[in-house]
Symmetry: C2
């Protein structure tokens, strides 16, 4: 694990609901978090709000996306897919050599509802890997509903976080972070290219949410808690 020191964790796109939600859960687990935004002032405001939420056990700061990423060894990309490639390319120098966690979901919406966008690289995670070849990119956190992440009362321990990546050390690190975020299982889903399946699955969850008026997430059957934790250890 020595290649990737624990803290701080930068959240690029940290003022969006998914970024704020993940930052909150990470801070509650004791991780130092720096929210990034195109507008450093908005990031500082969002960080100030997060600090008021129950259980925040570590400092939460705000900065520009670039400054946030510069000070962190682990960078969580929590940005909309629209503009993703341009943003990652513009930050390639500060992202070089780092552990990038992508929770980006390339989704489209039309009158038929949500659907998965076609991505030339296969997935947003692979797109980021292509733009920053020296980084270790791991896909995770695609399926956790932001309102639940941000709800201090919501128990997420029944949600599975499916984690994919090609760098074993980086993936092990993210599996541990995922268990911190939910208090539940983190599942090694396999190679990074399976992000092409994990990312657009969110379209199914959004469709189900609308139909059943809920906040759905994913759990796998056939997998004991012990099995998943053993894999992390």
């Amino acid at each position: 694990m020595s290649d990737f020191p624990a803290d701080p964790i930068a959240v690029v796109g940290g003022t969006g609901p998914q970024g704020r939600g993940l930052a909150y859960r990470l801070a509650r687990a004791g991780h130092l978090v720096v929210l990034g935004s195109r507008d450093a002032g908005r990031a500082a405001d969002a960080a100030g709000q997060l600090r008021t939420l129950p259980g925040v056990a570590a400092p939460v700061d705000g900065a520009s996306n670039e400054d946030a990423a510069r000070c962190a060894a682990i960078v969580l990309l929590a940005v909309p897919y629209q503009g993703h490639a341009e943003l990652v390319a513009s930050m390639a120098d500060v992202l070089a050599g780092k552990l990038i966690i992508s929770c980006v979901n390339p989704l489209g919406f039309d009158k038929g509802g949500p659907y998965g966008l076609s991505v030339a690289a296969g997935s947003a995670a692979e797109e980021a890997a292509g733009l920053v070849p020296s980084a270790a990119v791991v896909g995770a956190f695609h399926h956790l509903a932001a309102p639940l992440l941000l709800d201090p009362e919501a128990d997420l321990s029944h949600e599975d976080v499916l984690v994919c990546g090609d760098d074993a050390e980086a993936k092990a690190r993210v599996l541990a972070l995922a268990a911190d975020v939910t208090g539940g299982r983190a599942v090694d889903a396999g190679r990074l290219r399976l992000a092409a399946q994990l990312e657009p699955l969110t379209a199914v969850l959004i469709s189900v949410n609308k139909r059943y008026r809920t906040r759905s997430g994913v759990a796998l059957t056939g997998l004991s808690t012990a099995a998943a934790k053993e894999e992390v250890a």
Copy 2:
């Protein structure tokens, strides 16, 4: 429901593990099933074997794929994706106007493991819909492990069957069949195009199976049993 009489249900590709497994569970729930195969003799043999399994409550017959489909109002496609388009095109006349259930998973395998294949139509289910425009195509049963389907002792009631389709009546029919197959929840996942997400998700499950030495399946969080059943009713 009057457009789609209940029985028999034809299983095209009914001698493969997925087809036999689903046929077994359907027969155990009292549905008359006709297994189809390119080789009618092999289909008859497989049907004979299924009839010996515990709890089979209805006749199980075997026939050529064409003859099986001809006698049924509901046709379950349980064939490998390789050759899928050719098979469906060759049967377009007998499939016309019927309820087609697709559990076809377009997957590739290489040294990196399983991955989702790129399908020009979006998904195998949409490919079938394009080839038989008068049929009502519904996607379902992508994620149930065949060895569990075939194991008389295996309880599948904790597995969610995610069902997608654009014909509400046909989808309601398949949601009811799915509940028969597992004894558990059937979830309306939305439009047929979401088969593009449901089908290749199986690559993730196979990857997890290998890593954790299990037979994984899918369950959604945030959805009560009551909510899912209410939708079916």
